[in-house]
C-alpha cells in the first residue's frame, strides 16, 4: 500500500535511469542518509562504534569492491585479504612518509596503489577462468602477506614487524591513534562508504558496468558486440581493488590502529568478505551492505544472546557462529544464490501489489 509505483511517471530517460526510479525508494534512501549523518554521530559511544559501525562501514566497502569483481564481472577472487593488506601498508607508508598530508588523500592514494597491484594480479584472468582463476588469486593472497612479513621496508624496520598508525588529524580533529573520538572515526569512515557506494552504483549502471556484466554472462557474446575482454576484466580488477584498498587502509588506520599482517589480512579475511557478498547478494550494491551488516551483527547478537542472556561459555558461542555462517552459506547457495538482495527484491515486488495481488 505504501510502496508502489502508481502515479510515479518518468518523463525523461534520465529520470528512468536514476538510481532509485521509485519515489518511495528515493525517500527511504534520503532518510537513511539523514539518520546516518545527523542522528547516529550524536548517539554513539566507543563500544557501538568499535564493535558495530566501524566494522560494518569498512567491510561494506570491501564487499562492494569484491562484488564488482565477482558479482558484476564474474571473476572469482580469493585475494581480498592480500589486497586489503596492500591498502593498509600503502596507507602506513604514506602516513609515515608524508605526515602533513590529509588522511583523505592518503586513503585515496592507498586505493589507487591497490588498484594498480590488483590490475597486475588480474592479468591471468585473460587466460584462465573459474576455479583456476580463484587459485591464481589465492597465490596473490599468500604472496602479498609473505611480502609484507619479509621485507622490512614495508613496516619501517620496526622490531615487532607490526605496523601501527601514528596520530593524524583532519581539519584539526584526531582520527587515528588511541585518543580519537567515536563520532569522528565514524564520520570519517561513513564518508568513504557513501562515496564508494555512489561510485560503484554509477559505474555498474553505466556502460562500464554493462561491459562487466556482459563478460560475466557470456564472454563470447560480449566480444562479438565489441567488448575488449582484457580491458573490461582489468578495469574490473582495478576498480575492485581500489575499493578493497580503501577498506584495508581504513581497517588498519582507523579501526585496528596496529596490525600484524598474517593475522589481520590472512586468508580468513578473503573468505569473510566472500561470504558477505554470497549471503548479501552477488551483483548488488545493496547486497554488499546487507552481507556486511549481517556478518558484523551476527557475532555481536550471538554474544548478547548466548553469553549475556543464556550464560553459555564464550567458546561455544564462537563455534556456534561458525556453524551458523557455514549453514547459511549452504542454504543461500542452494535456495537463493542471489542472497539477501534477492529476498529484498522479491519482497519489494510483492509489496508493490500488496494488498491486491491480482
Amino acid at each position: 500500500m505504501f510502496y508502489r509505483e502508481a502515479g510515479d511517471f518518468s518523463t525523461t530517460y534520465a529520470e528512468d535511469q536514476q538510481t532509485f526510479p521509485i519515489k518511495f525508494d528515493r525517500y527511504r534512501y534520503y532518510v537513511v542518509l539523514f539518520v546516518a549523518i545527523f542522528v547516529i554521530p550524536f548517539m554513539v559511544n566507543d563500544y557501538w562504534v568499535n564493535s558495530l559501525f566501524l566494522p560494518f562501514l569498512i567491510y561494506a566497502i570491501a564487499a562492494i569492491g569484491l562484488n564488482i569483481l565477482v558479482g558484476y564481472c564474474g571473476q572469482v577472487s580469493l585475494g581480498t585479504g592480500g589486497f586489503m593488506a596492500v591498502g593498509a601498508y600503502a596507507c602506513y607508508k604514506l602516513m609515515t612518509a608524508m605526515p602533513d598530508v590529509s588522511m583523505f588523500i592518503h586513503i585515496l592514494l592507498a586505493g589507487v596503489i591497490t588498484a594498480a597491484v590488483g590490475a597486475l594480479f588480474g592479468l591471468p584472468s585473460l587466460r584462465i577462468k573459474g576455479f583456476y582463476l580463484a587459485v591464481a588469486t589465492l597465490a596473490a593472497q599468500f604472496f602479498l602477506v609473505w611480502l609484507f612479513n619479509r621485507v622490512p621496508w614495508f613496516y619501517n624496520y620496526s622490531a615487532s614487524g607490526q605496523i601501527s598508525a601514528p596520530e593524524r588529524d583532519t581539519f584539526g580533529i584526531l582520527i587515528t591513534g588511541p585518543n580519537t573520538e567515536a563520532w569522528a572515526t565514524y564520520m570519517f569512515c561513513l564518508i568513504f562508504t557513501v562515496f564508494s557506494a555512489l561510485v560503484a552504483r554509477n559505474l555498474t549502471r553505466g556502460s562500464v558496468g554493462r561491459k562487466w556484466m556482459a563478460i560475466r554472462d557470456m564472454d563470447i557474446a560480449a566480444e562479438i558486440i565489441g567488448v575488449n575482454p582484457l580491458r573490461a576484466k582489468l578495469t574490473a580488477f582495478a576498480v575492485s581493488s581500489f575499493f578493497i584498498g580503501i577498506s584495508g587502509a581504513l581497517f588498519f588506520s582507523i579501526y585496528l590502529g596496529a596490525v600484524e599482517v598474517g593475522e589481520a589480512f590472512g586468508i580468513q579475511k578473503s573468505f569473510l568478505v566472500l561470504f558477505m557478498i554470497i549471503i548479501g547478494g552477488l551483483g548488488s550494491i545493496f547486497g554488499s551492505f546487507a552481507g556486511a551488516a549481517f556478518l558484523v551483527l551476527l557475532p555481536v547478537l550471538l554474544k548478547i544472546v548466548g553469553v549475556d542472556w543464556l550464560g553459555w561459555p564464550t567458546d561455544i558461542v564462537a563455534h556456534l557462529q561458525l556453524v551458523i555462517v557455514g549453514g547459511l552459506i549452504i542454504i543461500f547457495l542452494i535456495a537463493e544464490p542471489h542472497g539477501l538482495a534477492q529476498l529484498w527484491r522479491v519482497a519489494k515486488e510483492k509489496l508493490r501489489l500488496w494488498p491486491f495481488p491480482h
Binding site: 559505474l203 556502460s207 562500464v208 554493462r210 561491459k211 556484466m213 560480449a222 562479438i224 558486440i225 567488448v227
Partner: protein, 277 residues
Amino acid sequence: MERDSVKDQADSYVTEDGRTIGPTVMEMKNITLRFGGVEAIKDISFDIREGEIRAIIGPNGAGKSSMLNVISGFYVPQEGEVWYKGAQRPPMKPYQVAQQGIARTFQNIALFEGMSVLDNVMTGRLTQMKSGLLAQSLWKGKAEREEVENREIAEKVIDFLEIQAIRKTPVARLPYGLKKRVELARALAAEPTILLLDEPMAGMNVEEKEDMSRFILDVNDEFGTTIALIEHDMGVVMDLSDRVVVMDYGRKIGDGSPHDVRNNQEVIDAYLGVAHD
C-alpha cells in the same frame, strides 16, 4: 561457376525482383579454413553488396557457420583475404570486427541472461560509448549525456521490434521466440553496416517465422542494413534473399539469384542426394 569469377564491378546491380542493390561492401577472396586435417571451407569466394539480403545455405556441416565465424573474426582463415569497404582486413579480434560495424546473432541464443532486455539492447551500443571511467563514476558530463543519447537509439530499436512491454524484464524469464527477437534488437542497436544472422528462425513455428521474416525485411528496408543470413527453411530463404550462396562440404556449389540457385543441378543434387559412382 564461371559467372562468379567475372565479377560485375558496376556500382549498383538490379536483382531479378527489380530491387537495386549497391556496390560491394565485403568480399571474401579464396577463403580456406582448416581445423587440423579437416577442411571446413575450401577456396570460397563471394561478395556482399550494400543493402542486399544475402543468404548462405547448404546442408548440415557445409561450413556455413564457419563462414560467418570467419566474417565476424572468430576464426582466422589459413588462406584467402577478407576485403571490407574497399580495403583488405588484417586478422582481427572479434571485438575489433564489431567496432568496424559488423554485428551478428547466434544460432544458439547468446544473450546476457542476468541482465534486463533494455540492458541487453544497450550493450549493443557499447562500441559507441566512449566516456571515461572517471566521468562514469561521477555520472557527470559526457557519461550522463551519452547514456541518454544511446538510450534513445536503443528505445527506437525496441519500438521497431515491438518489445516495449518487456524492456525491464530479465532476459532469463523470456520465452524462446522473444529471446531471438531481443538478440536481433541487440545486434540492431549497434547500427551495423552488415548484420549477420545465424539461423534467425531455427526452432520457430510458422507464425514466429513470419514475424521474424517481416522484421528482417523491415530492417533491410528502413535502415538500409546489409544482411547476410544462414537459414535452413528454403521457403524463407527464397522469399527473403536477393542473392544466395550455396555451400556443400566446404565448397561453393552455387551463387546467384534464388531462381538461378533453385534450378542449379549441383544444388539439387546436394540437397536431394545423388548416386556417386
